[in-house]
Amino acid sequence: MRLLRLLLCGLLAELLLVTPVLADNTLLLTQSQLSQLQAHGPWPPVIKPDPSNRLSGNAEAIEFGRRLFFSTRLSGDNATSCVSCHAPEDAFASGRVIKNGLLELDRNTLSLFNVRFNRWFGWDGSNDNLWAQSMRPIVSTQEMKLPKQALRKVIRESTFLRSYQHFFGEISAHDDDLVLVNIAKALAAYQETLITKKTSFDKFREAVANKNWTNATQYPESAQRGLSIFLGKGNCSLCHSGPLFSNGEFHDAGVPYFIRPGVVDKGRHQGIIDLKKSPFTLASDYNDDLKKKGAWAVKKVARQHSNFGIFRVPGLRNVANTAPYMHDGSLETLEDVVNHYSDINIERLHADGEAILKPLNLSSQEVADLVSFLQSLSE
């Protein structure tokens, strides 16, 4: 009897020591969904330098780019910098209204986080590389308003001259376009470093991949239910695919493309026109990659009628921190976005466009769950 008591005590002690403390959550996803969600990682992806930009990955160049990014010298009024619209404390994003309420743009300002992973840049994809995209706001007559002809003088008369000539040589030997491209490449080198960290979703994904079910059940059940909708009846992952939660292409999200009476935002349609006219694509001689590997996209992109009024699918990482939403910033909250898709009016979609979106008729609980999942993609 005494021996039996000793054995029972030993067994109890062993159970207390080795039994893992299980979280209160349970695993709600099916085996198929657990497999499907692996496509949304790993995060971060493997980082490779951009061959089109000789400054990519260079620590000194990144610092040069950072100084440029935060400087107001790249503006016509010497009062605007990249940070004016892409402030770090605002997830490097803002809405349509910029410059402390002084200016309203036609489009929502995209976050610069994870921008290095894009194939197309801007809502309309009018650029196929980050340095060309970085030039645009500098010379824009709405935004930083610095003509390219004035940039050389700005650099010459600033503390940037030494860095410029260190990386690119004598500035007086460069024409206005080349000076602008070079400055933009430094800016791009800095922006490439803006990458979001792993989130609770990534930890969940890794736990599932490693079959660590204890850790997997740390992931909130509401986020799991939301993920189930995202992968399943929501069809969100069709466009918001891969580790970036974006396929990088252009789709009709049922958001009107009328900016104001008489003015239409043509979206990708105009974007391709502008792209094909641009002297700064990956097919140009400004591309530092002699093989021009990335140039296939600008050469082969097809201009189609259905491109009219459609916009690039933004990535969803950090989405909880980048309100407002959609190309025109018309939706204030993530709940608004989910409700937009839940109640979508398919009559507003292109007649000759894709047939993907349909009303989801989500319950309020399902909306909350989907929002919970989207929040788990944010730091």
Binding site: A351, G353, I356
Partner: protein, 127 residues
């Protein structure tokens, strides 16, 4: 409306004139085939495959075109494929295909000879 647009889309072809090329006189080894390894297709990345055409008359088509659609979504690709004829292999090299969404894609290769057109299709599923 959507059906007619869909059918128009299926028959909308991108082509490259194969000037100055001729079929090498080889016996037919197997019927016409779209030859690709699905495992090599990465979502959102360009890929290539070959198309072999075995014609009893051993005559070359006037032109060959290639395209793909997602039947469930009624849309095609965003990039214009390239079709070239490789004399060494006696096959058509088809490149610059990009599947930007997961799901079922239907590839169609069409050959045009005078007034005749023949369509060859292959369905692939991308995860």
């Amino acid at each position: 409306m959507k059906l007619s647009v869909y059918l128009t889309g299926v028959f909308f072809m991108i082509y490259v004139a194969a000037e100055g090329l001729s079929f090498v006189d080889k016996p037919c080894e197997k019927p016409a085939a779209i030859e690709l390894n699905v495992e090599t297709i990465q979502l959102g990345e360009p890929f290539s495959f070959t198309f072999s055409l075995c014609d009893e008359k051993n005559s070359m088509p006037d032109r060959v075109t290639a395209n793909a659609i997602m039947p469930a979504h009624q849309h095609g690709m965003n990039y214009t494929p390239t079709v070239t004829f490789d004399e060494d292999s006696n096959r058509y090299d088809i490149s610059d295909f990009v599947f930007h969404m997961p799901g079922e894609w239907e590839i169609t290769v069409s050959t045009y000879q005078n007034d005749e057109v023949t369509h060859y299709t292959k369905t692939v599923v991308i995860n």
